[in-house]
């Protein structure tokens, strides 16, 4: 029962999920929309409770067992508590039951999001530039034939993308464009075929109950 019920549910929902692709009738489309928008959202809401429970359990364990850098867990738990209280009782734009404004100083959940989470996220994203530089250094070392090809292609692409290349060799920008649109696109499309077929095959195997890895095993 523990295995058969999930497999049966997957079979039914898998077929019902695929049918709207070929049935444009409103019965099929409305059911599909309802299922995707409402049912999955409800499941998501329940699992979010489990997720938050997991964070609290994980960091409480770290604090109680004094694991390495356990002090930071206090920061996380206190931040979680404060933002949860503000978010739940303060409203999104300081329009809730809890006052989230002292004079001109706002600390409603929208302000916290805009002035704390967004800049922190942007900071992480900005670090990507440095990681790219170090990755490029490693990738462009001409140790093998393939790496040399990559280096040459990258050199042409970079040079072809700057206006100066037009003065050095007028055909370079169009050659760089050709590399991007022909060999690069061909490779991407080839992978796209494989990915699409792999998706189809995996979906089919899951719907038919052949692939049971997501249940924790194949038996």
């Amino acid at each position: 029962m523990k295995v058969r019920l999930p497999l049966f549910l997957v079979l039914i929902t898998g077929i019902l999920g695929a049918l709207p692709f070929i049935i444009p009738h409103s019965i099929a489309q409305n059911f599909d929309n309802e299922f995707r928008n409402t049912v999955i959202r409800i499941i998501g809401a329940f699992s979010l409770v489990l997720g938050v429970g997991s964070i609290i359990r994980h960091h409480t364990y770290k604090i109680t067992h004094k694991r390495e850098h356990w002090q930071y867990s206090y920061v996380l738990l206190i931040s979680l508590l404060i933002s949860a209280v503000i978010g739940l009782f303060g409203g999104i734009d300081a329009n809730g039951w809890l006052p989230t404004r002292i004079g001109s100083f706002n600390f409603d959940i929208q302000t916290l999001f805009t002035y704390i989470e967004v800049p922190l996220g942007a900071t992480m994203f900005a670090m990507l530039a440095f990681f790219m530089a170090s990755a490029a250094y490693r990738a462009f070392r001409a140790r093998t034939f393939e790496a040399t090809l990559l280096l040459i292609a990258a050199f042409i692409m970079m040079l072809g993308s700057v206006p100066l290349s037009n003065y050095i060799f007028p055909k370079l920008p169009s050659f760089a464009e050709w590399i991007l649109t022909v060999p690069n696109t061909a490779a991407k499309r080839g992978m796209g075929f494989g990915i699409s077929l792999g998706t189809l095959a995996t979906s089919l195997k899951i719907i038919l109950g052949i692939e049971r890895g997501w249940l924790g095993g194949t038996k």
């Binding site: 979010l48 992480m124 095959a201 195997k205 997501w214």
Partner: protein
């Protein structure tokens, strides 16, 4: 006396000509207005086509008027600019008869067409334009089931070696020897994404090996639903490996659903815990390189697998092994060596052979019919 500028004379001439055309001869109406139910939809749509007015170049556009069978007057339902010869009325009621009229408009001048035929919108039960997809899906399904049946009968199925998956045993063994944990990152998409499902399948197999070697596993998650699934998968894998006691529920946990906060958290885990092996399996976005480069800097063996074509170059650069595209989906079958799954894999490859063959044949036909030199047909 000052000379009148040339541009003024030209402007005057154009205005005069337009005036003559519009107000003396008027504008001409569009013709052949045909209305019909929009195909392959959920109803409430009627498509109207018309032949452009001979005055199309000078008019502002076309106003579309509609009259239902129980109405006495036409009502405007849309406006299309000049040069456009079709309009979809998406505000109809299924089963009601409608007639349409298309009016060419220029300022206050209007040239209405004849009334169209009667059209009724309805919804369809089958999308006729997707027959080709359905047809190929049937062929593909047949191939997969055929090879699965062959596998069931014990046929010897060859699957080429995938370096990244061959290295899994070695990577888990290395972590055990070093006494360090293994980090498994299951991508950033939800459970409805097939890449995440593939990541869960691989997680099950990897967790079995980890349980057998008695090593430590860390699975930080960005999606609460994926977190619950991952926890169950790991728990079940430990049970199947005969080590349910070794499973620690704390090893699989939810971090955050914020993309870069998650990247920061995983980077933190990598620098603090120094895992001996990092697995990046699933769908990734811009954080792919941030994760992979940080992992590389800690000296961990890194095995990545993604179907995100944009992020593949980053993983190839920063990781020791990378499963590209469909290899991610094949990994579960490869690791488990389950005959049924391997049969599915072979069927999948034959599906690709069919597609490649069709592409080659169509390319040759395309070349033969379109190249002027080889215009044989």
């Amino acid at each position: 006396m000052r000379k009148i500028p040339n541009y003024f004379i030209r402007l005057f001439t154009i205005c005069f000509l337009l005036f003559t055309i519009h107000y003396v001869y008027g504008i001409e109406a569009p013709s052949k207005v045909l209305a019909g139910d929009a195909p392959n939809d959920a109803g409430r749509n009627i498509v109207i086509h018309w032949q452009l007015s001979p005055s199309d170049s000078i008019i502002e556009g076309y106003q579309i008027l509609r009259k239902a069978e129980n109405e006495t007057e036409m009502t405007a339902v849309g406006f299309m600019g000049k040069g456009r010869n079709s309009f979809t009325d998406d505000g109809t009621i299924d089963g009601v008869k409608y007639t349409y009229q298309v009016v060419a408009v220029l300022d206050s001048l209007q040239a209405p067409s004849e009334l169209s035929n009667i059209a009724v919108s309805s919804q369809q039960w089958f999308h006729t334009e997707r027959i080709n997809v359905l047809f190929f899906t049937f062929i593909f399904t047949f191939l997969i089931i055929f090879y699965i049946n062959r596998a069931k009968k014990g046929a010897n199925l060859f699957v080429r070696k995938i370096a990244g998956l061959l290295a899994v045993d070695e990577a888990v063994g290395r972590a055990t020897e070093m006494g360090k944990p293994i980090l498994y990152v299951p991508g950033l998409t939800g459970i409805s994404d097939v890449a995440t499902i593939a990541a869960m399948n691989i997680l099950g197999e990897v967790a079995k090996k980890i349980a057998t070697y008695d090593s430590q596993l860390i699975v930080p998650n960005t999606d609460p639903i994926v977190f619950t699934v991952a926890q169950e998968v790991v728990k079940e894998a430990y049970t199947q490996a005969g080590r349910p006691d070794a499973f620690k529920s704390d090893s699989v946990y939810f971090v955050t659903d914020s993309q870069f906060a998650y990247a920061a958290a995983v980077d933190g885990i990598m620098t603090r815990e120094k895992p001996a092996t990092n697995f990046f399996m699933g769908y990734f976005y811009a954080e792919a390189l941030i994760l992979a480069e940080t992992g590389a800097s800690t000296g961990a063996v890194q095995i990545a697998g993604t179907d995100s074509v944009m992020q593949l170059p980053f993983f190839i650069t920063a990781c020791d092994y990378t499963l590209m595209g469909e290899e991610l989906y094949a990994a579960s079958a490869y690791l488990s060596r389950e005959p049924l799954l391997l049969g599915g894999l072979i069927g999948q490859d034959w599906g690709k052979v069919v597609i490649v063959a069709i592409l080659v044949v169509l390319t040759i036909i395309g070349l033969l019919t379109n190249l002027p030199v080889l215009n044989l047909f």
